[in-house]
Symmetry: C2
Subunit: 210 residues, 2 copies
């Protein structure tokens, strides 16, 4: 775990580090994750392999950093006071960015690699999945506090259902996850658990237009 | 796709084929999927590498067959007339068998490999995920026909939610998926969509004892 933490900023030159992660991402798009080598990344970035290995212990660690740079604020959780509308816009934004053709192959390659490397799996969880889970849980808890969502439901279980369905569809079933799918998913999950209107009076129906 | 279909039975000796898949599975358990080679499988099974490549075009194809042999009837969908009880017992059986320590590492390795090999991803879908989806959808449609489950819900969306949550928990979050988790998952998803008692009068409450 510790070894997959990003290097301390004081230990590395940020401009060089950015050039290396950018080169890694570009190579992944060109030849696919499995064929990318640390040698090729070094050549493309104009960096020495020794430098790269000083900053990242493995290809997985480097490619996770490259992925995280692209996903910072890719799909934040808004709080307009209408939890259903907010989940809908977050999910559609996440599908368009993280689930899109630029990042999704990179992310699934990391997930694939993580199945053989527990320390990479832990780093993906700690640095990507867990922060998103926390942000989603915070948004659901706010809705519970505002009387919009049944307080008996564990926010993390609702997250497992809604985001689990997205992963299952994108990763295993490879079916379209368009806005109509997102609406049906929210409607089916939250039906019966929505306990009140949005405090602002905004429309909370999952099937309303965005 | 075609190339990952199992060889036609007439083309291979079933006893030799079983020895090869058994050797592959055993080696996976011993050294982990990435370190297993076709050479080692041939040696362990007492078969020639030429035979193995005649029957399976790749390590992924062979290890998918080895996995499928172990999962035949691992988690069938019963029909006792009580859809909630039936989903509960199917899910708990699936978690214990497919999600257990023997098969889960093998399955996640295949999913990982599939992220780089679209033909393996397609074969996993065609030969494992899709048949389970169909069986689950058939069970849900029977419940709709029996007046137990709201007919307005697309069975495949309910499957995405319930089984997506299991995959998300097991594959990405790695949290416990014990019977209490399965009960909460069924209760939260199906709440409001259960429209009638089981025809037999069996208990349909998700939280009832098994």
């Amino acid at each position: 775990m510790t070894q997959l933490r990003p290097p301390a900023p004081s230990r590395r030159n940020e401009r060089s580090a950015r050039a290396i992660t950018a080169a890694a991402l570009q190579l992944c798009k060109e030849v696919g994750y499995p064929k990318v080598t640390m040698d090729a990344i070094a050549t493309r970035a104009g960096a020495s392999k020794a430098t790269i290995y000083r900053w990242w212990p493995s290809k997985g660690a480097l490619l996770l950093d490259a992925f995280l740079e692209q996903t910072v604020d890719a799909a934040p959780f808004p709080d307009t006071g209408d939890v259903v509308a907010d989940l809908r816009s977050q999910m559609n934004a996440a599908i368009a960015s993280i689930g899109g053709p630029e990042l999704w192959p990179h992310y699934t390659a990391l997930i694939g690699e993580a199945q053989h490397h527990p320390e990479l799996a832990q780093a993906i969880f700690d640095r990507f999945i867990s922060p998103l889970e926390q942000a989603a849980a915070d948004r659901l808890r706010a809705a519970q506090a505002q009387g919009q969502l049944d307080p008996s439901r564990d926010p993390h279980l609702l997250i497992d259902l809604m985001y689990g369905a997205l992963y299952y569809s994108l990763l295993l079933v490879r079916k379209p996850t368009d806005p109509a799918y997102v609406d049906a998913l929210l409607d089916t999950t939250l039906h019966g658990w929505i306990t009140g209107p949005a405090p602002t009076g905004a429309d909370t129906r999952p099937n309303s237009a965005q």
